[in-house]
Symmetry: C2
Subunit: 152 residues, 2 copies
Amino acid sequence: MPPPSSSPSESVVRAWARLERAHRAAQTTVEARLKEAGLPALAWYDALLELERAGPAGLRPFELQREMLFAQYNLSRLIDRLAAAGYVTRAASAEDGRGQVLTITREGKAIRKRMWPVYAAAIEDAVGRHLSSVEAATLADLLGRLYSRQAS
Amino acid sequence: MPPPSSSPSESVVRAWARLERAHRAAQTTVEARLKEAGLPALAWYDALLELERAGPAGLRPFELQREMLFAQYNLSRLIDRLAAAGYVTRAASAEDGRGQVLTITREGKAIRKRMWPVYAAAIEDAVGRHLSSVEAATLADLLGRLYSRQAS
DNA sequence: CCTATTTAGATGCAACTGCATATTTATGGA
DNA sequence: TCCATAAATATGCAGTTGCATCTAAATAGG
């Protein structure tokens, strides 16, 4: 969407505009499906998945924050809700007096598992349906470049 | 990010996960730059751009909604704010008694123009910097497929 | 050791979003 | 023509996000 100037190339501007739209469309689908099924929101899934992957050692909030690219205050409250729902446990960190360690509970694992079929179907519908497997891999690759940690 | 099942292929799931992350990263950058510069948020730009493109005939809210893939109630309030800021005008539609017609004001055009350099730099930084022009075009193409209006 | 700075996390408050639903006008049939 | 339904837009309320800032612990210098 290239109005006046041209420091980003036209294709870059178009890519960005479509990133917005495509994301909005896909997210809307996914969130709607989860809600229809009476399940928690997308962000819950993502957090629970990371915690499940982290295993019994758990994760520090700031680590989770980096994984999810979530704002700090935002994550802090997401954790509140997950903890209130009984899906994660907060324990004081042994090595760092300021921090805590998050671990997923049995209920957390269970709900994540229960979310997956619905989530998977939504992903297929919002993304998979439109792309071949090779195209999806290309897309994943290009998107990965946009946030890989290597800066300037 | 493929836990148990496998109805969407692994590459599809990865593409979706990265769509989330990449979008979040890019949007965070863009919004931050606009805010730093004391300018309105991203959504304002998008709406103003569509309205400017529509010319003096303006747009109906529902048309803008389709362009932006914005939720109806969400757009309704965005328009409130744009109107309150003096950037758009709402007039009753001549053909449709339920509806209204939105047009961008001179001030609206001015602020959009003022936003562009900052926005453009942010896009370059969040997207352009990471991709060649061909890659950006490929990305735009693939993303476009995810929300083109042809359904199932 | 002591202070200045940085890092981890929480929080009050305002803005925004989502949901459900209301209101008004159009429209397609009986 | 009348009615049932659909479309366009608005809105009260609750939940979420963003901002700014706070506290407490860690860490780097001196």
